[in-house]
Each structure stands twice: as structure tokens, then as C-alpha cells.
């Protein structure tokens, strides 16, 4: 579904991604793991068009998207839940969800997706007229995922959804990710520092180091790989 070929992305003169190649097959959960500063977030921002790559090719459903604007990329079906959730703090929960559906005009479809989301996250229905900034971290993470789902994406990019959450919420969020993948058939690219956890729900994984892909393989093979184990799984 998504293919990155030799992606090179720079911030000024600093090269953050050095020829990254990876592919995300339709219907799968793919984990992208690695240490702080390895280039995971930059990879997602390059896919979304916020930091366009300097060279290389990004194919989505066979179509090159590396030169498109962020709004065009969303309209093709790629939504991102960025690191730190980035809820619009002074918009209400309902308005945040509205913004998730910004590019859609099928009122009936939006309404039914909203019902589905309030069913998935009942706490958001309760808080729908509350400002986004007043929610707890875990609730904000749910809202961030819900907002991305409102675009009805084919590919969902998740950046560190477990960061800073209480263990109970981490488990809940992971269950939700699994559920979204199973029920909606949404393809997911999951960036995580918590490698152990990410590889447990993923089908396959990529390990990044210093802007490069260091290892890749099925989630099971990475969980058993000795160097991955010692460097990222803390075993």
C-alpha cells in the first residue's frame, strides 16, 4: 500500500533520513522502532508532506505522493496521529472531531463515523462539549486517534501513541489499535520507542538507527533477533 524508496530528508544541512526504504502492505500493522532521534518521526512527517523529502520516492497505492501538499495527501487517505497528540486545545472535543473530517462533505457518512467513534471511545461522547485541552493525557490520545479516524483513512500513521500514558491507558490504546486494524481493515504504520509492545501487536517491523533502516523482518523474527533484543528490547 505504501512504499518508501531511498527517501532522503534534511532539516537545513542536517540529513535526518539517509536513503530510507520500507514498505507497508495493505491491511497490516507495521512497527517502526528505534531510539530517540533515529528519524522515526521525520519518516512520518515526510510521508505526510509536512517535511517533504529532498530525494527518493513515496508511493501510495502505486502513485507518487512526495511532491503533494499535506492536504492532498490526507485526501488520498493517509492520516497521522502525531507525537504529543496535538489536540487543538481550545476547540471542543466535537470540534476537534469535526476538523478530522475537514475534507469530507458526506454528512451522513460523517454522522455514522461519529457514532462509531463515540461507541469506540464512550468517554469522548461524555466530554464532547469540553475543550480538548482540559482532557487527561489518555483521553487526549483517544481523541487524537478518533480525530484521525474521522478522515476515514486507508493508512493510519501513529507516532508514539503510548508515550507518557499510565500503563492502564497504554494497554487500552493498544487494544484499540488492534481493533481498528481488525474491524476497519485500516493499514497502520506504528512508530514506537516501546519496541516490545509495538512488535507484539505488529505483523512486521523496521528498526531505525541514525536515519537508516538497520533491521527489518516479521515482528516475530525481530523479537527473536539477538541484536534487536539486546539493543531495544532490554532482554
Amino acid at each position: 500500500m505504501l512504499e518508501l524508496k531511498d527517501i532522503r530528508t534534511c532539516y537545513g544541512n542536517i540529513m535526518a533520513l539517509k536513503d530510507v526504504t520500507l514498505s507497508v502492505p495493505a491491511g497490516e500493522i507495521v512497527a517502526l522502532i528505534g531510539a530517540n532521534g533515529a528519524g522515526k518521526t521525520t519518516t512520518l512527517m515526510s510521508i505526510s508532506g509536512i517535511v517533504p523529502p529532498r530525494s527518493g520516492e513515496i508511493l501510495f497505492l502505486g502513485q507518487p505522493i512526495q511532491t503533494l501538499g499535506p492536504d492532498e495527501i490526507v485526501s488520498l487517505g493517509i492520516s497521522q496521529v502525531p507525537e504529543g497528540r496535538r489536540i487543538f486545545p481550545k476547540l471542543t472535543v466535537a470540534e476537534n472531531l469535526d476538523m478530522g473530517a475537514f475534507l469530507r462533505s458526506d454528512q451522513a457518512g460523517i454522522k455514522s463515523d461519529l457514532d462509531y467513534i463515540y461507541g469506540l471511545f464512550p468517554i469522548l461522547a461524555q466530554r464532547r462539549y469540553q475543550q480538548g485541552g482540559t482532557l487527561s493525557g489518555g483521553e487526549q490520545q483517544m481523541l487524537a486517534i478518533a480525530r484521525a479516524l474521522m478522515a476515514r483513512p486507508r493508512l493510519l500513521l501513529l507516532d508514539e501513541p503510548s508515550l507518557g500514558l499510565a500503563p492502564l491507558f497504554v494497554k487500552l490504546i493498544l487494544t484499540m489499535i488492534r481493533k481498528i486494524s481488525d474491524e476497519q481493515g485500516t493499514t497502520i504504520l506504528l512508530v514506537e520507542q516501546n519496541a516490545n509492545m509495538a512488535l507484539k501487536i505488529a505483523h512486521r517491523g523496521y528498526v531505525m538507527e541514525n536515519g537508516r533502516i538497520a533491521f527489518s523482518g516479521t515482528a516475530r523474527s525481530l523479537l527473536n533477533n539477538e541484536s534487536v533484543k539486546s539493543a531495544y528490547l532490554g532482554i
Partner: protein, 300 residues
């Protein structure tokens, strides 16, 4: 008491015009954190356009309310086109540049537009016809507030009410708020941020043009320099109320207008600006973020 009420009404009128212009500063600042120093010039261009159109209409025998409406529409469209173009030429290419660059570009734009009108029109003050209709007010009422002032107050109140509804309930209004709160995230949900920014400039310019027409009708004359003074005052109002805050701009405008009016009435018109800026200094010492402004949250 009647004198007090008269000053109060005069202050509200003046303040509502400041508020109308201040909205343009504060909305642009809220979205791209830029002080658009060319905003006062857009106001001046609005007033000039209305003057030119109404003069042409007067020559063809048209006057009164229909001339006013037609001149206002042309002036608003024309000023909006200027606002739109100024953003595209002077600010958009500098979107990712250090913050000082667009600020300098804004000052350059302001100087350019002033001199362009100076050369294309005239350095002299031109008489501006009073296009606003004369309302039949009861005498006791008329001693406190004039017909023109009442029209200005009502017009600005209606426009601000309309703007509030647009920002609160329409899709574009919500997108504007979302963009102001987190621009990159707005892009990630698919909002075309460039379009939002353009719309903000167009709306701000339209409001400034309306302000220009109203005040020119009230004062009765225009020249190329009126935008500078009005711009500085409206900018003061925006900062007073808390720049970036829309209710703040309205409150700041009214407070500034009332202060000037009372200073003129009870002290001397020579001290009008002294009181206005003294008030600004006092408020910035006590509340550095302005009356309704909030301290910027540290970005992590």
C-alpha cells in the same frame, strides 16, 4: 451628566472603529504571528476607493444610501484584493523565514502603499462627502449621540456579531481557529493552511475598509497618511486587549476609544494620545499579555 454621556457615546464610536481595524491585526497575528504593519494602509485604501467611487457616482447624479452601498461594496472588494495581494507578495515567500524578515517586509509594504497613493493621488487632504444618512433622532437623544455616530456604532456591532458567528460556527471559522492553535496539526487534518491565511487577510482587510469608510464619513477628509495613525491606534488597541484574542481586540478598541474621549473632554484634546499610550504602558506593566491575552504556553 449629559456631557459625560456625550463623551461616553463619542468614545464608544471611536473605539468601535479602532476595534474594527484591530480585528485585522489580531486575526493575522493569531494565525501567523506577524504584525501586519501594512494593515493601516489597507484601511486608507478602503477610504480612498470609497471617495473615488462616490465622486464618480455623484457626477452621474447618484447619491444617498444607494451611492453609499455601491461605494462601500467596491471599496471592500478593492481593499480585500489589496490585502490578499500584500500577503502573497510580501509574507508568503517568507513563511519559513526568521520572524524579523516578514516584519521588515510588512514595514516596507506600508511605506510602499503610502507613497503609491501619495503619487497616484495627491499629498493634500481631500474632502470626503458624508454618505451616511441622517437619522431622525429625538432631541434629548440627539444631544448625546449624533446620527452618524449611531450608524457607526450599529454597523460595527452588526459586523462584529456576524464575524463571531462565522468564526464560531462555520467550517472555515473552525479551520481558522484550528490553524491559529496549531498550524502543522491543521495541515495534518487536511486544512489548506495557505487558503486559511488568505481568507484571514481578506476578512481583516474588508473590516478595515468598512472602518475606513465610516471614519472618513465622520471626519470628512482623507489623505494618504491617515492609515498610519489609525493603524498605530488600532495596533495599540489589539495589544491592549491581548494580541491574538478576538474579544480582546474589541475590548481593547473600546477601552482605548473611551480613554481618548474622556481625556479630550475633561483635560484637553492635546493630551488625547498621551492618555491613550499611558494607558497602554500601565496595562502592559500590570498585565503583559494584555487584558484578555493569555501567556503563550511553552512549546515542548
Amino acid at each position: 451628566m449629559e456631557y459625560f454621556l456625550e463623551l461616553f457615546a463619542g468614545g464608544l464610536t471611536r473605539g468601535s472603529i479602532y476595534a474594527l481595524i484591530a480585528l485585522g491585526y489580531t486575526m493575522v497575528y493569531g494565525i501567523i504571528e506577524l504584525i501586519n504593519f501594512a494593515h493601516g494602509e489597507i484601511y486608507m485604501i478602503g477610504a480612498f476607493t470609497a471617495l473615488i467611487v462616490s465622486s464618480v457616482l455623484a457626477m452621474s447624479g447618484m447619491s444617498g444610501v444607494s451611492a453609499l452601498v455601491l461605494a462601500s461594496i467596491v471599496a471592500v472588494v478593492y481593499a480585500s484584493a489589496y490585502g490578499f495581494t500584500v500577503e502573497k507578495i510580501a509574507y508568503k515567500p517568507l513563511r519559513r523565514a526568521p520572524r524579523l524578515s516578514p516584519l521588515i517586509s510588512a514595514i516596507g509594504m506600508s511605506i510602499f502603499l503610502q507613497n503609491y497613493v501619495l503619487l497616484a493621488q495627491t499629498p493634500d487632504f481631500l474632502p470626503f462627502p458624508n454618505l451616511l444618512p441622517e437619522l431622525p433622532l429625538p432631541e434629548a437623544f440627539g444631544n448625546i449621540i449624533g446620527s452618524t455616530e449611531l450608524i457607526i456604532l450599529l454597523t460595527t456591532a452588526v459586523i462584529m456579531g456576524g464575524l463571531t458567528l462565522v468564526i464560531k460556527f462555520t467550517k472555515m471559522g473552525k479551520a481558522m481557529r484550528a490553524t491559529a492553535q496549531d498550524r502543522d496539526m491543521a495541515m495534518l487534518v487536511g486544512i489548506n493552511v495557505n487558503r486559511v491565511i488568505s481568507n484571514t487577510f481578506v476578512i481583516g482587510s474588508a473590516l478595515a475598509a468598512v472602518g475606513g469608510i465610516l471614519i472618513a464619513s465622520h471626519v470628512g477628509r482623507v489623505n494618504f497618511f491617515i492609515g498610519f495613525i489609525a493603524g498605530i491606534k488600532a495596533f495599540t488597541a489589539a495589544v491592549l486587549g491581548g494580541i491574538g484574542s478576538i474579544p480582546g481586540a474589541v475590548l481593547g478598541g473600546l477601552v482605548l476609544g473611551l480613554t481618548e474621549s474622556f481625556a479630550t473632554g475633561y483635560v484637553s484634546s492635546d493630551y488625547e494620545d498621551v492618555f491613550a499610550f499611558a494607558l497602554l504602558i500601565v496595562i502592559l506593566i500590570l498585565r503583559p499579555t494584555g487584558l484578555l491575552g493569555r501567556a503563550a504556553a511553552p512549546k515542548v
